[in-house]
């Protein structure tokens, strides 16, 4: 029989305001095995933990139940406290009477009743707990960063600087990401390329960093400390070792009609191309869908003009398999498609553009060489209208429910830059709210209004109307004046919502990392573990976790790096002891369990067993504790009931069921 101590936490008033903790203490004392019960204001505090330790010593406790917040919050705290007092940490169970009880119920009697039942279930379970010993697993001292934008680059640099090897996998031909497409950055108006390219160069030159561009993660297996990853290096059709980056092939390529991804399709590029002048590596790729050689067999101009002989039409995709201890996801974002917002005439007029397209137009290397002009007729605009929250803050399934966070600031930036460079251009911004939390952000926005004379109108736009003369008519609300405005414009810029880069879904599936309804990766805890995925060994960097601007992205990239370094610095990891285990006497070696195991953790051995005095050799399932992750699929599949999961055994769960239904 166990000797169980029950500790009921008030959590200040979080629990005690709705659950009568004294009553819980009184009720659980009648439960089998319980020899001690007490309540305290904050069980997780130093003093609370001391109470647990004292009771363990004084009452010779063999098991502990803490009625408190979610085990996801403090299970580890209490297990460690028990261990310090000499108890096996796996003899501790938590009854979640906060998240699952006091916070969702109002009626005290009802909540107290439920808290008692939850405590009983935990007590029933502890009665069947057995001490468990975690095993050890090794750590591969190398990290993988998926995505080569500013988030990925920064994470990689920080990990590499700490002395660990890092590989970056980037799916486009160059690292640099969205930031390389930006012209200027807020709130200091630095040139984006000027601050980004040094980092790109540093990453490329770093001896600890290996960059796989034009490559994608294909398969992930393993677990924290020991991931095995297949990387597909897509065929570049150019030998990177021979290419000198002279650029002649791109100049001479006769097929120049492919839309330029880097310029958001506003102009075209050659079939053999580097996305932009500062690309790293400075090795072009052949876009086989656009290349005449691949399409018709005739051409071969690039091969002829390449002095270095680097063109290789026969190149094939290559799969590289690498081992990693930690994986950082930094897959970034894209702007949403605007097909659901045709009232803004994006698909109907070339002069209605997204903000990211405006970045390219404003950029000296962009499709208009940095001149602000209408894409329809090349004319210089005199009236520009910006529309905020296009596709953000929508709960009607057309757009995104969240605020994209960066739009208010970049619109202020655009407005300011335009007014600065072209004082003849009037700029009007239709906004719902101007959101500028951030250092020097509101001051920046106010400068746009006060110093640059940008006209901010509170109200959303209903429709953008094309006029026969080529101008645009913006029909919007002025809520402060209670008017409907018709504003003639030459160009309209849409602050388009951002969404996680769509490929993140597959990556999350491969990593078994959770993802929310908007395809943002979920953090292990929204406040306290914001850069970790709930999946151990997977870390989050940048917009893949939620909308953020460059400074925040860089900060989070550093944080993710520190977490990865913290993992890589360890030589061994403690493994979860809640693994599956076969009862030798019941196992008949049928192989059903091995078939459902996603980790290949189960093998079979010919083993001599002593079945009630009969000694014989039988084929028996053996679980590799280093590989088993403790999902329990095998326990249910097992036809003889031999396979069980330690820490979540059949008897334990049934005991909980019984306690709840009593």
């Amino acid at each position: 029989m166990q000797r169980i101590g029950v500790f009921v936490c008030h959590c200040g008033s979080n629990i005690a305001a709705t659950v009568d903790v004294k009553k819980v203490v009184e009720m659980v004392q009648m439960e089998p095995g319980v020899v001690h019960a007490e309540d305290y204001q904050y069980m997780c505090s130093e003093a609370g933990q001391a109470k647990i330790a004292a009771a363990i010593h004084e009452k010779n406790l063999t098991g502990i139940v803490v009625c408190s917040c979610s085990p996801r919050m403090h299970e580890n705290t209490f297990r460690t406290a028990a261990q310090r007092a000499g108890l096996n940490p796996y003899m501790v169970e938590i009854a979640n009477i906060r998240e699952h009880c006091s916070w969702i119920h109002k009626d005290m009697e009802e909540a107290t009743k439920k808290a008692v039942i939850l405590a009983r279930a935990a007590i029933a379970k502890v009665n069947l707990n057995t001490p468990l010993q975690p095993g050890e697993s090794r750590v591969t001292k190398r990290a993988l960063v998926i995505g080569g934008g500013i988030a990925g680059i920064q994470t990689a640099l920080d990990i590499a600087d700490a002395g660990y090897e890092v590989d970056i996998v980037e799916k486009t031909p160059s690292i640099g990401g969205r930031m390389s497409q930006l012209d200027k950055t807020f709130p200091t108006l630095d040139c984006s390329a000027c601050i980004l390219t040094p980092k790109m160069v540093e990453a490329a030159a770093h001896e600890k960093i290996k960059i796989y561009t034009y490559s994608e993660v294909e398969k992930v297996s393993g677990f924290v400390g020991d991931f095995t990853v297949d990387i597909r290096k897509k065929a570049r059709s150019v030998d990177a070792n021979k290419c000198t980056g002279c650029g002649v092939c791109q100049e001479k390529c006769p097929s120049k009609k492919a839309p330029s991804e880097f310029n958001r399709g506003l102009n075209t590029r050659s079939a053999i191309y580097t996305p932009f002048a500062q690309a790293i590596p400075n090795v072009p790729v052949i876009d086989r869908d656009a290349c005449l050689k691949f399409k018709t067999g005739k051409c071969g101009v690039c091969e002829k003009v390449c002095q270095a002989g680097a063109i290789d039409y026969t190149q094939q995709d290559e799969i590289v398999t690498e081992k990693y201890g930690a994986i950082v996801v930094a897959t970034g974002f894209d702007t949403i498609k605007l097909d659901n917002y045709d009232e803004y005439a994006y698909n109907q007029s070339k002069d209605v553009i997204t903000s990211l397209e405006l970045e390219r137009i404003m950029n000296a290397a962009g499709p208009t060489k940095g001149h602000l002009e209408r894409l329809s007729d090349g004319k210089h605009p005199h009236e520009m209208v910006f529309i905020q929250c296009v596709g953000s803050r929508c709960s009607d399934n057309r757009g995104k429910s969240y605020c994209s966070k960066i739009c208010c600031m970049y619109t202020a930036k655009h407005a300011m830059l335009i007014r600065d460079k072209y004082p003849d251009v009037n700029v009007t911004v239709f906004y719902i709210d101007v959101r500028t939390p951030g250092k020097n952000f509101d001051e920046f926005y106010r400068r746009a209004v006060e110093e640059y004379g940008v006209n901010y109108i509170k109200g959303q736009v209903g429709k953008v109307i094309l006029k026969p003369n080529g101008k645009l008519l913006v029909q919007g609300s002025d809520l402060l004046d209670n008017k409907q405005i018709l504003k003639e414009a030459d160009m309209v810029v849409l602050a388009t919502a951002i969404e996680p880069e769509p490929s993140v879904r597959q990556i999350a599936t491969m990593l078994t990392a959770s993802i929310d309804t908007n395809n943002f990766l979920t953090e292990a805890h929204p406040k306290l573990r914001p850069v970790e995925s709930p999946t151990a060994g997977v870390f989050l960097s940048g917009v893949c976790q939620g909308p953020k601007d460059i400074p925040e992205t860089v900060a989070q990239a550093g944080a993710a790096a520190v977490k990865a370094i913290g993992l890589l610095a360890k030589d061994k990891l403690m493994t979860n002891p809640c693994t599956a285990k076969a009862d030798e006497l019941m196992c008949n070696g049928c192989s059903t369990c091995a078939n459902v195991c996603p980790y290949g953790a189960i093998s079979y051995e010919e083993k001599e067993v002593n079945d009630h005095g009969i000694r014989e050799t039988r084929r028996i399932a053996v679980v590799n504790n280093a590989l088993c992750q403790g999902c329990g699929a095998c326990t249910v599949a097992c036809p003889s009931g031999s396979m069980d999961l330690q820490g979540f055994s059949n008897r334990q769960i049934i005991a909980e069921v019984d306690a709840i239904c009593r």
């Binding site: 097909d339 917002y341 109907q348 109307i465 006029k467």
Partner: protein, 263 residues
């Protein structure tokens, strides 16, 4: 192919053309519109109130009759289409309305939105196919610049009607191309003409119609086509801008060479 057909009150009186041209064209295209028996007026306005049942029953009757025949229900008038499609949606998705309507109806089998409601244009697009239609055209209206006037009832709310992209529709433009003419896209083609208020608010209706016609004419349209008798009336009556308005079925019949059959 046979479809159940719901003409509606106006097509029996002031908009006989819309109906006659449609039937003649259907015949030429190889499908038949079988008028449902004893149809009743749809009411002209979809009752938005969640507590209105009686005003939805005439639509349910028509829908149920098509169901019993195992046919899709085809409509022509925009208002009828709007009302019947939305009532059908209620019957399919709103348990409360479904139960109450069925309690009134006392049908052998309760009606639960089984009938597929199609606008005549949808039949052309999804059943006949505009490519097929193009092949059947004998008098292509080559050179004619035509503006499509959609109005509001066919398109909105987009989620329920599922007719076309409510902010940038293409179905009538595709139709115009199929009969050999040139579509003129103009931004007011899905803006309301003010038909419902044209009885009393003459000035307001005039402003709205002028906007639509001026915009279409500005982009080079020589005529407008519509599927809605109310829009037709209002655009002609309320605006002084010279721009003829036709029913799309008239041009269809002309292109198919069956216009005389209808008259």
């Amino acid at each position: 192919m046979k479809y159940s057909y719901y003409p509606g009150c106006t097509l029996r009186t002031k908009a006989k053309d819309l109906d006659a041209y449609a039937r003649a064209s259907a015949k030429a295209l190889g499908f038949e519109l079988e008028e449902i028996e004893n149809w009743q007026c749809c009411g002209g306005v979809y009752p938005l109130g969640t507590d209105e049942i009686a005003t939805k029953l005439s639509s349910v009757r028509a829908l149920n009759e098509a169901k019993e025949k195992g046919q899709d229900l085809v409509t022509l008038c925009s208002a009828c289409h709007h009302v019947i499609k939305r009532v059908n949606n209620d019957m399919k998705n709103n348990e409360d309305i479904r139960t109450r309507a069925n309690n009134y109806m006392q049908l052998e089998q309760p009606y639960a939105g089984e009938t597929n409601v199609l606008h005549f244009l949808e039949v052309l697009r999804d059943k006949v196919g505009f490519d097929q239609l193009k092949e059947k055209v004998v008098n292509p209206l080559t050179g004619k610049k035509i503006g499509a006037y959609y109005g509001c009832l066919l398109l909105r709310p987009g989620k329920v009607l599922g007719f076309d992209n409510p902010e940038n529709p293409t179905i009538i433009e595709d139709f115009i191309r199929a009969i050999g003419a040139t579509p003129v896209v103009y931004p007011y083609r899905n803006e309301c003409c003010g038909g419902y208020i044209s009885l009393k608010e003459k000035e307001m209706a005039k402003n709205m119609c002028d906007k639509i016609k001026d915009s279409a004419a500005g982009f080079g349209a020589e005529m407008l086509i519509t599927a809605c008798p109310l829009c037709m009336y209002n655009l002609n009556k309320s605006s002084e801008t010279e721009l003829p308005v036709y029913y799309f079925t008239e041009l269809l019949a002309e292109a198919l060479g069956v216009k005389e059959d209808a008259e």
